[in-house]
Each structure stands twice: as C-alpha cells, then as structure tokens.
Symmetry: C2
Subunit: 235 residues, 2 copies
DNA sequence: GGGCAGGTTTGCGCTGGCGCAAACCGTTGC
DNA sequence: GCAACGGTTTGCGCCAGCGCAAACCTGCCC
C-alpha cells in the first residue's frame, strides 16, 4: 500500500493546488510526490499526529473528522477527488487537528512540509493557490459556524445535503447522486446533530419522495424542496 | 476621518501580516497604506459589500459579525491591535462575508486588492505571512465549530472568555482585564448562545468571584476556575 | 444458506436552554 | 436633578431535539 503507482500527469494537474501552473513546475511537483493507493477505511492520519504532510486526493473519498475533548465527533469535511486535505497544520502548530479516514478505496498524493515550502518558494503561483484554497475553506467553515449557531436541525441537515450535492453531485437518470458512501452517522456529524435526528429527517424526506437512500448512497430527486427547507426562515 | 494620520513605521511593522519582512518591503507597504482614524461604532464595511480591501488594526478594537438569513447574528471574531481583518474575500468571491464595526475609537490601515497582490508578488515573505494568518484563523474557526456542535452552553461561554483572555488579556492588579468593551450581547453572539443565557452565566460567575464585570469591561480573577468549566466533560 | 455484524428506524420520556416579558440599573445629556 | 435610553437581570413556561433502548433491516462472510 506504500508502493508508488504509475501516475498520469493530468492526475496531479487536476488537484486544486496545482491549477494553472507551468509544465516545469508540475514536473517538480510530480517528482516530489509520494503516491499511495489505500483500501477503504484506512486511517491516513490521526488527530494530534505530527510529521504532517500536504495531501491531495486523486481518486476515492475521505472523511475528515475532529473529536472534542469528550467522545463527540464532528465531520469537518468530506474530500472529493482533486481536493487537498491535511494542509492546515503546515502553517500552524504542526499537529493534525482531525482524523482522516478513507471512505472508499483511494489514491492519494502527498508532499512533506519542506517540499511544499520549497515548491511555494520556487513557484509563487502555487503559494497563491494555497491562499485561495485555504481562503475558500475558511469562508465555508465560517458559514457553517453561523448556521450551526442560528439554525434549526432540519435546516442544517438540508444545507449539509445541498453542500454535498454541490461538492460531489453527479447527475444521473434518477436525480443527483452523491458520490460518497454516507452512513446516517456521517450526515449527523456533518450537520451537527445526532444520528437519531438525522435518521428521522432523512427518512421523512425519503417518504416525501425528495430523495432516495440505498446502500449508503444518497440520490436527491427534489433539490428544490430541500432548498426550500434550507432557506425557511426560523418561524 | 479619512485624513491620513502621521504614522510611526513600527506601527505597521507590528501588524501580523508584515512580521519579519525587509525594511524596503515595509517601506512599500507604508507608502501604499491608506490610514484612517475612526470614531467608535463606525461601520468599516458591511456584509455583502464589494470593493474589498485588506485591513489591519493599529489601535482600538473591532467586532466582526455575520448575520444569518434570518436576523440572528454571530460574532466571528474581535480584532485587537496588530491583527488583520476583512482579508478573506480577497481570495474568494470579492464580497465581505460579515460586518466590521469599531467598538472603540480606532486607527486602521488598509490596502486594495491589487496593492496586496502586488506586495505579495514582490515580497514572497508577505505571501507566506498571509498563509500563516489565514491558516491560524481556519484552525480557530474549526475548533469553534467543533465546540458549538458538541458542548454545553456554559462550556462554550467559558471557552469564549478564555479565548478573549488569550487574545486581549492585560494583567492588572485586580486580575486579567479584557481590553474590548463587551456587552452581554457580544459575549452571547461570540459563544453561540442567547443574551439571556450569557447574562445568567456571567452573573453566576461574578457572584462566585471568578470575574468582575463593570461598565462593559471584563476582568478575570479566577481563570483557573473558568478553565475547569471549559474542560469539564459533558456529564 | 444461515448467521452475524454493522447500520437504521422508531417510540418514549425528559430536560437544557430558549423565548417572552417585565423590572431594574447606570450613564449620558439636557 | 431629571428624564431617557441602552444595557442587564431575572422569573416563568415550554418545546425541540437528545438520550436511551429495542427492534429491525440488509449485505457479507463463512
């Protein structure tokens, strides 16, 4: 599982961190990358680990979850192909603030702290991309903080679902399918509620025909209805 | 209030964004800066505004608050001298995601989007500082998201107070004073609860002698007790 | 094909903390 | 000195949604 796979250059070019950079830079990026294929349910890193690396997901899906001082967990984000993860501690205290676990078999590339700084110094567009990526993430987390503080559970679940659709929705004949396998527990931890409430709400929506949930896969059939819930003012 | 004040060079050098940069760079930074003195309760920018600038606070204090679709507000952060604010939209969609209002008379410097990008391109250490600043913020917001999803109100208020102490605590004869003027409402919106709950909790702590609240100023006398509340497992 | 394990649904009771409303207090300005 | 205003405290009632527990479903492995 640590064996380097053969890798198409486009695969790395599709990572958000390396958008619009020169072929020469991309070449360096590829030379330094450590690429690994990981089975599902593999822990890539744990909260508190040191020796951090910058990770990019090429194929598959990953769940980033942070646990509080007591047992409770929240899902910080799900990672789809092309996205970076585990980059925050590179610029702060050098400890991962959350766990990363593959949801499905995945292909992941990573670079050490020193390598990434080297690349950023040599190719400023990479540094700019880092800023853009982190900035986008910051805005998203701020929005979620606002939601979780001000909105009812049902609205939060609705927004969580819509966020997943936007991030990883594939249009199919039956509606928009989310490509991650999602247990109720994951949806709950991602919307800041309990397994039970999430289950009740999703079941209700399924009964209403707004979505279908089969085998940990969600397919949204009436996104407009869910949007309506998400936007309902707190009456 | 738009008149440029005379400005000591150290004032800008003390901004977190311009730590450890060359004198030449600092000189450019200073030339481009727009400096303004603002009375208290001035709106620096509003949620949704375009024409964003990067702001740095030299003196005074600022509250950054985001309002949800309904009326409810949350305080994203308070700004102490030396800190940057309003920088997120530079790297995302070009719209401020929150309001910024001075809590006290303040002295603020700012740069346009073009100027900041110019400076980052010319002096890479500034770009690195941007990353460091945003990274730290991202981690902090993630921690808060985790707290607000998993902890009881009392713990959240405790953590909010401790966070303020760490950020803006001045040791005095009577204990550690927080330099911002804080209404109960501000504390509530910063810990993700209601005015009423925050008031009850702070009053209880004052009765216990853990802190003193006079004239919108908080002084912490028994930080250790508050720490204990913050860390209490959710029993 | 049968059993097992992990995931899901659902009922029921309870409680944290929110919402409302009214009184209170301290500052500021006239 | 008085009035007005912004902020704070406090009591009371209520309900969203959590906790627990038990049954149920479904895919997987032996």
């Amino acid at each position: 599982m640590t064996a380097n796979d053969r890798l198409a250059p486009q695969a790395l070019a599709s990572l958000e961190l390396f958008q619009d950079i020169s072929p020469a830079a991309l070449d360096d990026v590829m030379t330094l990358a450590r690429v690994r294929r990981l089975p599902r349910e593999t822990r890539i890193f744990d909260q508190g680990d040191t020796g951090v690396r910058a990770h990019g997901l090429i194929e598959g899906s990953v769940r980033i979850a942070q646990s509080g001082s007591d047992g409770a967990q929240i899902v910080m984000r799900f990672i789809a192909p092309g996205e970076m993860f585990g980059t925050v501690p590179l610029f702060t205290d050098g400890r991962y603030p959350a766990d990363a676990i593959t949801l499905t078999e995945s292909l992941e590339a990573s670079w050490s702290e020193a390598e990434l700084f080297e690349l950023m110094g040599r190719y400023p567009p990479i540094a700019i991309n880092v800023i853009r990526v982190i900035g986008k993430r910051l805005q998203e987390v701020q929005d979620r903080l606002c939601e979780v503080s001000t909105q009812r559970v049902e609205q939060r679940v609705a927004r969580a679902v819509l966020r997943l659709v936007r991030q990883a929705g594939h249009d199919t004949r039956d509606g928009t399918a989310i490509e991650f396998p999602l247990r109720r527990r994951d949806v709950a931890d991602f919307s800041g509620t309990t397994l039970h409430s999430a289950s009740r709400i999703l079941t209700a929506w399924e009964k209403a025909g707004w979505l279908v949930s089969r085998n940990q896969r969600l397919t949204i059939r009436k996104p407009f209805e869910i949007q309506r819930i998400a936007e309902a003012s707190a009456n």
